[in-house]
Amino acid sequence: MELKYYRYFAKQYPLTVVGTLIILIIGLVALVAPLISPHDPLQLHLADRLLPPGHTYLLGTDEMGRDLFSRIIYGARLSLAAGVGIVSIAGIFGTVLGSVSGFLGGKTDLIIMRLMDIMLAFPSLVLALALSAALGPNFRNSILAVAVVKIPVYVRLVRGQTLSVKEKHFVKAAQTFGASKVWIISRHIIPNCLAPVMVQATLGIGEAILIAAALSFIGLGAQPPAAEWGAMVSVGRTYLLDQWWYATFPGIAIFITVVGFNLFGDGVRDLLDPRFRH
């Protein structure tokens, strides 16, 4: 019965299955990176600088003679951490702020929502750039910066959900049973707003990875010698004409990961949307 359902789903949404597989593979690679990478990603081989893809170095080496293949494998860890970390932080804070704003209404709502409007008035990359520069350029701060920038998306989403959920009878019933506001928000409002948040979060991981990589590309994210895809593309760019592999392979890694998460996110949305359910 269960198996039949999965097979049916795979037939109905082949791209979702592809996306899920990509994510699983990348996740696995990140998990067992020390076991499968042929070299230490930080080990310098000064004699083997900028070698093309070949036997010893599967995808070539960089200007310090570090193995690109190993660096890309280790880079999966950073990118996944960035993607998941950003949407988790933004999702949690956004959900709390949005539900409080929608449930309490009045002045609280006004203040929170106008703050979010101000944040949304900036292009997200520009605001992330400014925040990240202000916090100091390192990987952790770049994640925090992007997370903060992404909060308004979740606040608006959850606030809208809250406005409809709080009119439901079970919220009024909870009031007649003597529940406090904190209790009603955490127990009755938030659990019933979560489905669209999940969809938004999975769809947002790809974009989050891209922005984090972009910050590293500019030099505001992970600092050398960390094996971060965006940073690798950034340095590799200078060698693009003569050593095409240096910037290309990390770029492909970013591309595949983001596509994987986007396909997966689309699938989650279809799955949680009752109109698509069969």
Binding site: K168, H169, F170, K172, A173, A174, Q175, T176, F177, G178, A179, S180, W183, R187, H188, P191, N192
Partner: protein, 324 residues
């Protein structure tokens, strides 16, 4: 005997740009311990608003208690803080609703919702709350209560959900149950079951019930006393047998004439001419006079008081001899 709930001259206004709408216009009634009082009236007459005012849950921010007092166990409720109300709700006064389909949180199992309220008001341990919850589910005649504890609300029928809600409402030892049309959304055979269940359980617990309904048959079956509301006023109140058999107020008479009778010749049902008055511009004097078949000059000028016409039977009408 001291009344459990005593509402005196209660005025509730809805403030709007067009002025204040007097939705409750001086309500007086008492509810004694263990009593089953029916509150009847057409839509918009202020029945639910009365119940919500007792719980301190006025439906909108623009609704205010303008005047009057609500005494519960001799204690004034009007002007209590939100925190004081929270300690009262579910513990001393609880409510069951018209819509059992939506009154349970769809995201949690029945068990966790029933134990939640026990933990909140009685501060018992999770384990104790669970056995207590099962006991309550059994008490409202839910078959296999142990299994129902692990079931989500969508798996239950409306009647079953209303039983769960009744168990939740009574589980902390409420002295007063406000039942706001608890059977309207259920089909007729379940209605009778739920009403009997409410009456039996509250009888054995000694809980007083304020049953809000627009169904006079329900009142006749279950209540000891009834109060009839019209446009924010109580127009008649008294023992069910008196009020339904020998109604004194023209509105009560008209309501009873609008009911079909099983015996006697088949006649067209009578309806009450006109519509419910606009609360922003209510009629002067007695609010029922534009629709009343026996209205006099005096009815337009002054509002009649609710006065006794027989033992425990009160009527607000100028045509009653007591008002001369």
């Amino acid at each position: 005997m001291e009344p459990l709930l005593k509402i005196k001259d209660l005025h509730v206004d809805f403030l709007s740009y067009a002025g204040a709408a007097h939705a409750l216009n001086g309500i007086d009634f008492e509810l004694f311990p263990g009593e089953f009082l029916g509150l009847v009236g057409e839509s918009g007459s202020g029945k639910s608003l009365t119940a919500n005012s007792v719980l301190g849950l006025l439906p909108r921010k623009n609704a205010v208690i303008a005047k009057g007092s609500i005494l519960f166990e001799g204690e004034e409720l009007v002007g209590k803080s939100e925190r004081e109300y929270q300690a009262l709700r579910g513990k001393k006064i609880s409510m069951v609703f018209q819509e059992p389909m939506n009154a349970l949180n769809p995201a949690f199992k029945i068990g966790s919702q029933v134990t939640e309220i026990l933990k909140l008001h009685q501060g018992v341990t999770a384990k104790k709350a669970r056995t207590e919850a099962v006991r309550w589910l059994a008490r409202v005649r839910i078959p296999h209560p142990e299994e129902i504890m692990n079931v989500y609300p969508f798996e239950l029928s409306g009647g079953m959900r209303q039983r769960v809600l009744l168990a939740m409402a009574l589980s902390c030892g409420s002295k007063l149950l406000l039942a706001d049309e608890p059977t309207t959304a259920l089909d007729v055979s379940i209605q009778a079951q739920i009403l009997r269940l409410i009456r039996d359980t509250t009888d054995s617990l000694g809980t007083s019930v304020l049953l809000i309904t627009h169904d006079l048959a329900v009142v006749a079956q279950t209540c000891q006393r009834v109060a009839v509301m019209y446009s924010g006023n109580i127009v008649e109140s008294g023992p069910v047998s008196n009020v339904l058999r020998l109604p004194r107020h023209p509105y009560t008479k008209a309501l009873l004439q609008a009911l079909p009778h099983l015996d006697g010749p088949i006649k067209a049902l009578q309806s009450i001419p006109g519509t419910v008055p606009n609360l922003l511009t209510p009629p002067s004097g007695c609010r029922f006079h534009p629709r009343c078949s026996v209205a006099e000059k005096r009815c337009q000028a002054d509002r009649p008081k609710l006065l006794s016409v027989a033992e425990n039977h009160y009527v607000a009408c100028w045509r009653e001899s007591h008002h001369v």
